[in-house]
């Protein structure tokens, strides 16, 4: 039992699970699940009680029983007590103060990650303001490599997302040229396919591989299909760079995605076996998002942000190149408006980074959420300041296949201009070499010798 006296009232919380849920900043998904605080004062009281909980308590009290859930088992079984030692004596509140202090250097914060559990970082995020989530995350540098180097301080990469509602190859190629000409695509060129048919998937992989090889682009491709389909594609000799999978923070939500930890291991081993990385072997791409567990009725009465952090415990077992929280895609019954989406994006980025993951964010919303591009500008700027590893780049921010709005190629230029963020170094050098950018990384005037422009003319002919 956790108790606190606040504002003349005594509040009691029966479990760590309840305390975490009631301490979470307000969001519609937790109300829908019936786990949210019932008043604003109870929410703050829960934060106060949570701030006094020793971090060690999180190792003694599982929010989902060990016997019932393989993600809980993964978290407990892989906990590194040596890495945890520097903060083992702290409460959640003391941990926040330490993280934001001068003594928490990037080196110390990064070294801590194997000793932290998702519930610990979720807890500390709940008592942080948005600005704390920015500065805390900025200290956790996570660098990953496949054909280029992503996550260096002062850098930000972009996933080029050239989706088309019928997987039309010319339509996709047109969006790829557009994105590359705007200097995007260093995180990955990644297609959400309309079809999950193996032949169609293989065609898209071959097409992207052809573009990457023909123009010698230091980047990687991905078709975002189920891990088992990608394993089949690799077995048939398709040019797979990254293995994609959506994951969640409980065994039940992963089961609703048709995926087990064994599938993910098999997928990674398949991609490693074909050795397509040149500067590194981080070959997994995961997507997550708050609310997926409730949507699958697999949340065990936990709040959606804590479950989301548990998804990162799954991700970190597989040394991914990219982890993307698709924050506003799920809809207003989970994140109602711009305020809730902004908060969730900052939380996810912070929690993932502290757990040692290469976090990116699909800064996005659907048309039935109370949000617009101005809200996305705020989240983009804050994540840029927080050192986000990558964002999405979609023509005009309008995904015509998935019917939602994200960030555009122009938005990437904006945040680079505002914050001085550079692209992955290998990709930046390539852009300058073929004449897309000048030597300072700014877009150059269109010159006739640019091979991408020649390619565009050939496509159009």
């Amino acid at each position: 039992m956790y108790r606190v006296h606040a504002g003349g009232t005594t509040y009691a919380f029966s479990s760590l699970k309840e305390l975490l849920a009631k301490a979470t900043p307000h969001r519609s998904g937790d109300v829908l699940a019936g786990v949210a605080a019932t008043s604003a004062a109870e929410n703050v009281a829960a934060k106060m009680a949570l701030a006094d909980v020793p971090l060690k308590q999180f190792l003694n009290e599982a929010i989902i029983p060990y016997e019932d859930d393989d993600v809980t088992r993964l978290i407990i079984d892989t906990h590194d007590a040596v890495a945890f030692a520097p903060v083992a004596h702290m409460t959640v509140g003391e941990f926040r103060d330490w993280l934001l202090s001068e003594s928490a250097t990037p080196q110390k914060v990064s070294a801590l990650s194997p000793g932290l559990t998702p519930e610990m970082v979720a807890a500390v995020s709940k008592i942080m303001r948005n600005q704390d989530l920015v500065l805390g995350a900025k200290k956790a540098h996570v660098i990953t490599k496949f054909r280029n180097t992503i996550g260096l301080p002062g850098h930000m990469a972009v996933r080029l997302q050239p989706n088309h509602p019928t997987d039309d190859k010319k339509g996709i190629a047109a969006s790829i040229v557009d994105g590359l000409m705007y200097g995007c695509g260093d995180a990955v060129i990644g297609i959400n396919p309309a079809s999950d048919n193996l032949t169609a998937i293989t065609d898209l992989l071959l097409m992207m591989d052809d573009i990457i090889r023909r123009f010698e682009i230091p980047t990687q491709s991905c078709v975002l299909t189920h891990v088992t389909t990608t394993i089949d594609a690799i077995a048939k000799g398709a040019p797979v760079d990254l293995v994609f999978q959506s994951i969640g923070g409980t065994e039940g939500v992963n089961s609703s995605f048709g995926v087990t930890l064994a599938h993910l291991k098999e997928g990674r081993e398949a991609a490693l076996s074909i050795k397509r990385g040149t500067v590194g072997d981080n070959c997994m791409y995961f997507e997550t998002g708050q609310g997926s567990a409730l949507s699958a009725d697999a949340h065990h009465g936990c709040d959606q942000q804590t479950i989301e952090a548990r998804a990162y415990a799954v991700a970190r077992q597989f040394k991914p190149l990219l982890v993307n929280t698709v924050v506003g895609f799920i809809g207003p019954e989970y994140l109602y408006n711009g305020k809730e989406i902004i908060r969730a994006g900052l939380e996810d980025h912070f929690c993932g980074k502290l757990l040692g993951l290469p976090m990116g964010c699909d800064i996005c919303y659907t048309n039935h959420a109370e949000a617009d591009q101005d809200d996305m500008d705020i989240l983009l700027m804050m994540l840029g300041a927080a050192g986000v590893n990558f964002i999405m780049g979609i023509p005009g921010a309008d995904d015509i296949m998935l019917n939602y709005q994200s960030t555009s190629f122009h938005d990437a230029l904006y945040v680079r201009e505002a914050l001085g963020l550079k692209r992955a170094p290998e990709f930046e050098a390539w852009l300058a070499r073929i004449g897309v950018t000048d030597t300072t990384g700014h877009l150059a005037p269109h010159a006739s010798g640019n091979p991408l422009l020649t390619h565009a003319q050939a496509l159009a002919a």
């Binding site: 047109a174 040229v177 048309n367 122009h410 422009l453």
Partner: protein, 261 residues
């Protein structure tokens, strides 16, 4: 004189509806593109938030010889509807009573209950319902399917049809509903078919035909698929993942399961 940088590959636009070749003003989108995007978003937002006017739909359905009944979900207003999908799947108390009364008046149970719901796009319902129903009615007449009054439902999710269909005793329920609007498709109608409707049925037990609108799936094609699925649902006693839409074999002139079976 313009200070905007044009994109020389803008001729690739003919291969995709994606917003490519927009040009730029420094790092920003050009003025016309910022405003075009804002207009598309505004139309999608309006499609979600504008209450539907059922009057013209009632008149049009009446001209097709169909009676109607207005009902509502348990969601109190649009904001609650968006936050609480569970309430959009349940009838309001008044509507439940009205449907019970309607079922007591009718002697014979209907083959098909049709529910038209605003869903996430009142624009999609207003723009497509009458054209779809006009194209669908000849199939109903030809097959001799008995219909209940067409239910016109406010603040509805797809599963609202399960409770309504169960109360009316329909063999199947057909839900026509406004789909979540995309930036380039704010006016899309979705059609969901569920055999033996009852509360608690899973989404995997439905068949869906999506993107019915003037610039999407045509009314002829949409109603052809609906009628094919409905015949198969009645013949095989199921809908959902085990009923694959094979109607394209008929369109392409090859023998479909219906002709074989």
């Amino acid at each position: 004189m313009t200070t905007m940088t044009e994109d020389p590959w803008a001729n690739l636009k003919r291969f995709t509806d994606a917003r490519i070749g927009l040009g730029r003003s420094g790092a920003a989108m050009p003025t016309r593109e910022v405003l075009n995007f804002a207009l598309s978003h505004a139309m999608a937002r309006d499609a979600v938030t504008t209450p539907i006017d059922w009057t013209p739909i009632e008149k049009g359905l009446s001209a097709l010889g169909l009676s109607t009944l207005r009902i509502a979900s348990a969601a109190g207003d649009r904001s609650e509807y968006l936050r609480r999908p569970d309430l959009g799947r349940r009838l309001s108390d008044a509507s439940r009573e009205a449907l019970v009364r309607a079922s007591e008046i009718e002697a014979a149970k209907p083959d098909l209950v049709i529910l038209v719901g605003d869903g996430l796009s009142s624009l999609g319902v207003a723009a497509n319902t009458l054209a779809y129903m006009s194209a669908f009615m000849p199939y109903v007449v030809k097959a001799g399917w008995k219909l209940s009054p067409v239910l016109l439902a406010d603040d509805s999710r797809v599963a609202l049809g399960d409770e309504a269909g169960e109360i009316l005793g329909g063999k199947a329920v057909l839900v026509l509903i406004g789909e979540r609007p995309g930036l380039s498709s704010p006016d899309s109608l979705g059609v969901y078919l569920t055999f033996s409707p009852r509360v608690g049925i899973k989404d995997a037990d439905r068949n869906c035909i999506s993107n019915i609108r003037q610039r999407g799936l045509s009314y002829d094609e949409g109603t052809f698929k609906t009628a094919w699925l409905l015949r198969e649902a009645f013949r095989r006693g199921l809908t959902g993942v085990n009923l694959k839409d094979e109607s394209q074999f008929l369109i392409e002139g090859e023998p479909g399961p219906e002709l074989i079976g």
